[in-house]
Structures are given as C-alpha cells and as structure tokens.
C-alpha cells in the first residue's frame, strides 16, 4: 500500500531523512519508532503530502505521489503530532469541512460525523467551538477528521497524546478493526507498549535511515536478543541504553 524508495529530505545542511526505503503492505499496522529527531515526523509528513521529498519516491496504492498528488492524498487520513485545528469552527463544522475537502457532503457525511462523535462521547460538544475543547478532545476530533472520508490508509503521528484510558482503548480497538477490514496504518509513537501490542510490524528509524524493519521476532533475530522486549530492542538498536550521567547529575543537584 505504501512504497517509499530512497526518500531524502534536507533542512539546509541537516539531513532529516536519508535515502529511506520502506514497504508497507495493505491491511497491516506498522509502527515507526525512533529517537527524537530521527526523522519520523518528516517521513510521515512526506507520506501525507505536506512536504515534498528532495529526492526519492512515495507511492501510495500503486500511484506515485509526485505524479498523482490529489489521488494519493484522497486515499489517506492524516493525524499530526500536534492537534492544531480551526479554533473558531465547531466540532461538527470541522468534520463537515474536512469531508468537503475530500469532495463529499450530504446525509451520508452527516451520519458518519454523528457516528464518529458518538464513538468518542463528543456528541454534546458537536456545536461547541473547538477553542473550548480540551487537549484530549481535540485529539479525538482530529482522529475523527482523519476518518470522516473513509480513507484506505491512516498515517498517525503520536496517536495517544492526551487521550484518557477509555479513549486509548477505543482507539486501539478502532485501529485494529480498521486494519482487519483491509485498511493500512502507519503510526509513529514513543509509547513502546502501544507499538508492541498494536503493530504487526515495526520499523525503527535512526538518523534518517531505517535501522531495522519487520515483526518483533524479526527485530529480535536482527539484534540477537531472543527474549528481549521492544524497549530493550529499541534501546539496543538506537544505542540509547541507560545513561550513567543521570546519577552524576542527580548527585550534583543534591
């Protein structure tokens, strides 16, 4: 469903994504993990069509994003890492607007908006301005806006930000169901427990390159850690094991 080939993105001298290649099959949930500044968000923003790569290719559903930008964007729903939306629209209006951007309107859209808001217990907030929403409510609204046009692919940057335990549970079930029905999900997260439970495959990105990709078993084999959990695997692969400077810092502070 997603085919990234030698994707590269530079910000001035800094290479954020360095010749990254990755293939994601339809009906799978893939977790993109990596330390801060590894290039996760830049990669997701290129897949979502927000940024253009300096070189390389993004293919979605067999279409090259450079050649068919509108058709590829029509297939996806995107959730950014920070839930910024139009503060002066109501929740209902925002969802109607997003559906409108995808060229759909009418009673089917209204029904879908009500279903999505109902899922997150946001129906009483439908006619309230977004500026009065809490952080978690905004996240739920953006998740709804990514789903309102029935996409085939979901690209989500940090899905659990601000969600309460009940909503987090709903989201996990929703994403699983979406994938089981043939949808494709690429999710970036720092919550390794979530990735371990939810994702069919994991890709670990470090310094703009895919360090390793596959199922957790594949990752274990690659790092020769046969019974390690995802956290240990992640730290080993990204060379981020416990820093001894913590103790000396705390000593200094004391």
């Amino acid at each position: 469903m997603i085919e990234l080939t030698s994707l590269t993105k530079r910000y001035g001298e800094f290479v954020a994504v360095d010749s990254l290649s990755l293939s994601i099959a339809a009906g799978r949930i893939t977790g993109l993990l990596g330390p801060n500044g590894a290039g996760k968000t830049t990669t997701l923003r290129m897949i979502a069509g927000i940024l253009e790569p300096d070189s390389g290719q993004v293919c979605i559903g067999g279409l090259d994003m450079a050649d068919e930008p509108l058709a590829t964007r029509a297939m996806l729903g995107f959730v950014p890492d920070r839930p910024f939306v139009y503060e002066k629209l109501t929740g209902g209006e925002l969802l109607r607007f997003t559906a409108g951007l995808h060229g759909i309107s009418g009673s089917a859209v209204e029904r879908r908006i009500d279903e999505l808001l109902d899922l997150w217990d946001l129906v009483p907030w439908k006619d309230h301005l977004v500026e009065s929403y809490s952080h978690g409510m905004r996240q739920k609204l953006i998740l709804s806006s990514a789903l309102v046009h029935a996409p085939r692919l979901l690209v989500i940057d940090e899905p659990m930000v601000g969600l309460d335990p009940k909503s987090a549970r709903i989201l996990k079930d929703l994403l699983r169901e979406f994938a089981d029905r043939g949808g494709t999900i690429l999710v970036s997260t720092h919550t390794l427990e979530l990735a371990e439970v939810l994702c069919d495959e994991i890709a670990i990105i470090d310094r703009g390159r895919i360090a390793v990709a596959g199922t957790i078993e594949d990752l274990r084999r690659a790092s020769e850690s046969h019974d390690a959990g995802l956290e240990q695997l992640f730290l080993r692969i990204t060379r981020g094991e416990t820093d001894h400077r913590i103790a000396s810092l705390l000593d200094a502070l004391a």
Binding site: Y86, F97, T98, D127
Partner: protein, 563 residues
C-alpha cells in the same frame, strides 16, 4: 537578579528571533532586493512629494509656515491616534495572549521587569511603521525649512516620548478593559477599543474641521484665520507638544517648558502604568486565561444556501473562512471602525467647498472629482491590507489539514480570493457611487470611476493575498497585528504604486478634458476615445498586477511543500 538584567533577559528571545529572521531574509537575495527596491522607492517618493509641497507652502507669505506647522501637528495627531489603537491591540497580544506567558508566569520574574519588557515589545511592534513614515516626512521639513544638523537629536528627543506615551496609555487601557470585561469575552475589548478610537477620530475630524484650513473664506476675516492657525489645535495632547518641539527645532529655537512637559508626561505615565500593572495584572491575567464563549451560534446558514451551487470543496473553503472571520472578534470588530470611516469619508467629501462659489476653479473641481478615484482606491487598498493580507497567515498551524487533503493550491487561492473580493468590491462600489453622487460627477467620469474601482479592487485583493502568502506571519496570536509586518508594508507600497500608475495613466489619457476646464477654455465633456484609452490602460495595469500576483502566489503555495 536586578530589574535591568531581567528586562534584558526577557527581551533576549525576541531580539534574537528578530535577528535570525533578518539573517534568513539576508540569505534570500531576491527577497532582499525586492524589499530594498520597494523601500528605496517609497522614501524618496514621500520625501520629494512632501518637500515640493512644503516648498510651495513656504512661498505663501505669513500663512505658509503656519500652515506647514499646522499640517505637522495634524499629521502627528493622526499618528498618535493610530499608535494608541495599535498599542491597545499589541498589548492584548503581548500581555495576555502570548504563548510564552504561562511559562513565564511560573518563574520568579519581577512584575516590573515583565511590564517593561512587554511594554518595549508592544511599543516596537506598534510603532515601527509610523517611525518609518516619519523619517522622510521630518527630513522634508528639515530640508525645506533649512534646519541644521541639530534637528536630528531634536527629532529623536521629541519622538521617543511621542512613541512611549501611546504605548503606556494603550497598555494601561488594555489592562483596564480586561479587568472590566467578563473574562470569557476578553477579546471583545478590541471592539470597545475600536469603537473608542472611532469616537475619538470622528470627534477630532469634526472638531478640527480641516476643510476650513483650505477655505479661508469661511473665517470672518484674515486676522481670525491667522489666529486660528497660530493657536495650538489641541494644547492638551502630546502630539501637539511634539509638533511644538519639532517646529521650534526647525526654527533653531527651543522652549524648555514643552520639552519638560513631553518627557515628564512620558516618565510619569510609565511610572503610573507600572504601578497599575503591578496592582491589576495578576488578577487580569488569570481572568484572560479562562475559556471563550463555548457554544457557537449557528451561522452561515443563509450563505450555505447561496453557495449551494458551488462545488463542495470551494463551498466548504469559503464557509470556513467566513465563519472563522465572524467568530473572531479581533477581525470583525474593526468592521465597525471601517463603517464609521466610510461615513466620515463621504461626509467630508460633501463638506468640500467645490460647488460653493467662484474661489475654486472648474479645473480644480474636475481634478478633485477625478482624484476621488485615488482616494477611494487608497481606502480599498488599506482595507484589503487589513482583511485579505492576513488570510494565508491565519491558516498558520492548521495548514497541515489543507496540505494533506486532495485540494489544489489554486483552489485554496481562488476561494480566499473570492471571499475577499466580493465584500471589497461591494464596499468599493458603494463608496464610489456615494461620493460620486455627493460630488456631482458627470456621467462618463462616473462610469469610468466605477469600472476602474472594480478593476483596482480585483488587483488589490490579488496583491494582498499574494504578499500575504510570500510573507506569512504564522506565529501571530492576533489577526490585527499581521498587516503591520514587513510583508504588509510591502503590499501597501505595491498596491499604492499600482494605484498611482493607474491614476497617472488615466490623468494622461484625460488631460485634454481637464485642460478644457481652465479659465478661457471652452468646457467640454470627456470624449469617447479618451474614456476608451483610460479604460484600456486601467484594464492592462490592474489585470497584469492581479493575474501576476495570483500566479506567483499559487506557485509559492506549491513550493512551500518543498520548504
């Protein structure tokens, strides 16, 4: 840490950010050249035009220098009003809406340091444009009235308190308004501030009756007229003291009392402002953090029906822009000011003594009727700058939603263009029809001015949108502040440049008609060929500006994906 060190520390992020922005501009050679060229063109134009006018004024015995000083006082009074309003808006952002405030409030920073730092920020962001305009103005005065080098320190010494006073008063007004208003509607204070400013402006314009200055016959005799010029127009206002100090400086003299008045007022008000801030700010800040009005009124239903024939994407984009505009008090409250300004404008046009007697020649009357197009154009250009220029910046952090959707850049651009163009054209036509009726414009000129203003509005809307896309201000918390950016200034220069070109070209095309109004000539109406030439030129200039701007803007939106 001392107050001075804290003050410097608090300002550091802002000036560092400004320096970085400047250096990033430096790295873009094309942009720098554009900014430089437009800036370099604007200053000499203002300087030379004013210098020529002042030189002509100086030739008029007795009255000339007095009129020049009165003109300076009037200009400074206008700037003072603008600065006051601008500082009220700026203070709302700096003291209450800035994103760094919650974090700053958790630190043990002294209240006085915070006040002085935010006051400085408010002052700089609200005053730089006025200062930029004052430089060629004062240079022209200095040149024409042969002021020496000493006029430079005099100008600096007069302008510092002139800028500080509205900043302090504006910040204090904002503080008091936030205190008085229910916190949930704290942004509504702009509405009150706007209405207050309108009331002051109307009062000033009507009390001063500036049209009397160009119509000495309305005075009983020359002595009365001279007396009215000699006396200060508003002796209690700092703008008058500043004008007095500057006029003294031009003459090489100095009145210590005026200096003391100006500086002691600035210092005294700053002290009072700091005390007021220390007393009220903590409670006001808390109130301002409470949420806005929760439930939205169902709006746009009528518009939905009107737009129902449009494609879904365009309809939703336009509806979104209209809804967000009318729900943002910082945006629509200024419409009230606008409405009153239009009334004042039309009224003042009617007050011009054009058809009153024989003192004004037919030639001059015709020119004034023609220049009404320039004035209306200026008003529309300014309004487009205020409401259309920020359109792209206001997408800001929500731009991801548009970019990740299957919407072409051209579609976004067109929806924003039409959202701005339709109300602006309606306003432009209203203004033109009303003023033409009040002035009694002949039919051919009437028609020409109607077509011209529609074309000019189309061009201004495109230019405002394009400049706003090339120079977006994504980080602003307040829509009213966006047009005061460098991009806003460049837009105004570009728009006024194209307006000037159209007016000059039309003037050239209609020169035969104007000349026929001179004494001794046979008056005639505009010939069809003259009107056609004027129209062709107008279509050419405005359409090149509009299409060029929109094409460049579309390309810019597309290229931002690779940025």
């Amino acid at each position: 840490m001392s107050v001075a060190s804290e003050y410097r520390l608090l300002l550091q992020p802002k000036w560092r950010a400004a320096l970085r922005r400047a250096s990033s501009v430096r790295s873009r050679v094309g942009r720098l050249l554009l900014v430089g060229a437009l800036g370099a063109a604007a200053w000499p134009v203002v300087y030379l035009t004013l210098a020529r006018f002042l030189a002509a004024l100086r030739q008029v015995e007795d009255i000339g220098p007095l009129l020049a000083s009165r003109l300076l006082a009037l200009g400074l009074l206008l700037f003072f009003g603008l600065l006051l309003l601008s500082n009220v808006i700026g203070a709302l952002s700096g003291f209450f809406l800035a994103r760094d405030l919650p974090a700053l409030r958790t630190t043990p920073v002294d209240g006085l340091s915070l006040y002085l730092a935010r006051l400085t920020e408010t002052l700089v962001s609200s005053s730089w444009m006025v200062l930029l305009i004052l430089v060629p103005v004062l240079a022209a005065y200095a040149r024409v009235f042969d002021a020496g080098v000493a006029f430079l320190p005099v100008s600096v010494g007069a302008l510092v308190p002139f800028l500080v006073i509205p900043a302090v008063v504006g910040s204090a007004l904002t503080l008091l308004l936030v205190r008085v208003f229910p916190a949930r509607r704290s942004r509504d204070i702009l509405l009150v501030a706007g209405l207050g400013a309108v009331a002051v402006l109307v009062l000033v314009l009507r009390v001063l009756r500036p049209e009397r200055l160009v119509n000495p016959e309305s005075y009983r005799n020359l002595v009365d007229f001279l007396e009215s010029l000699r006396g200060p127009s508003s002796p209690w206002l700092p703008s008058q003291w500043t004008a007095d100090v500057l006029v003294d400086g031009l003459e090489g003299s100095a009145d210590p009392l005026t200096w003391v008045l100006l500086w002691s007022t600035a210092a005294g008000l700053t002290t009072l402002g700091a005390s007021l801030h220390g007393w009220l700010y903590p409670a006001c800040f808390t109130r301002a953090q409470e949420g806005d009005e929760q439930k939205a009124r169902r709006s746009g239903t009528g518009l939905e029906q009107i737009l129902s024939g449009l494609a879904v994407r365009r309809r939703e984009l336009i509806l979104k822009d209209v809804r967000t505009f009318f729900r943002d008090t910082t945006q629509w409250s200024q419409l009230i000011i606008l409405a009153v300004l239009v009334v004042v404008y039309v009224y003042n046009m009617g007050a011009l003594p054009l058809h009153a007697g024989t003192t004004v020649s037919r030639y001059l009357t015709t020119v004034v009727l023609f220049l009404n197009l320039a004035l209306t154009g200026f008003v529309i250009a300014a309004i487009a700058g205020r409401f259309v220029f920020p359109a792209f910046s206001l997408e800001g952090r929500t731009l991801w939603l548009l970019r990740s959707s299957p919407v072409e850049a051209g579609e976004i651009l067109r929806s924003k263009y039409w959202t701005g163009l339709v109300p602006l054209t309606s306003l432009a036509l209203l203004l033109t029809v009303l003023t033409n009726l009040v002035l009694g414009v002949p039919p051919v000129l009437f028609f020409l001015s109607m077509v011209s203003i529609v074309l000019l509005t189309a061009s201004f809307t495109a230019q405002a949108l394009a400049w706003g896309i090339f120079f977006p201000v994504f980080e602003s918390e307040n829509a009213a502040q966006i047009p005061t950016s460098i991009g806003g200034l460049l837009y105004m220069l570009g728009a006024l440049g194209s307006l000037g070109l159209v007016v000059l070209c039309q003037g050239w095309a209609l020169r035969g008609y104007f000349v026929s109004g001179l004494p001794g000539r046979v008056p005639r109406s505009v010939a069809a060929s003259e009107a056609v030439v004027a129209l062709v030129i107008t279509v050419g200039v405005t359409m090149i500006a509009a299409v060029g701007s929109l094409r460049a803007a579309e390309a810019r939106i597309e290229s931002r994906r690779s940025g």
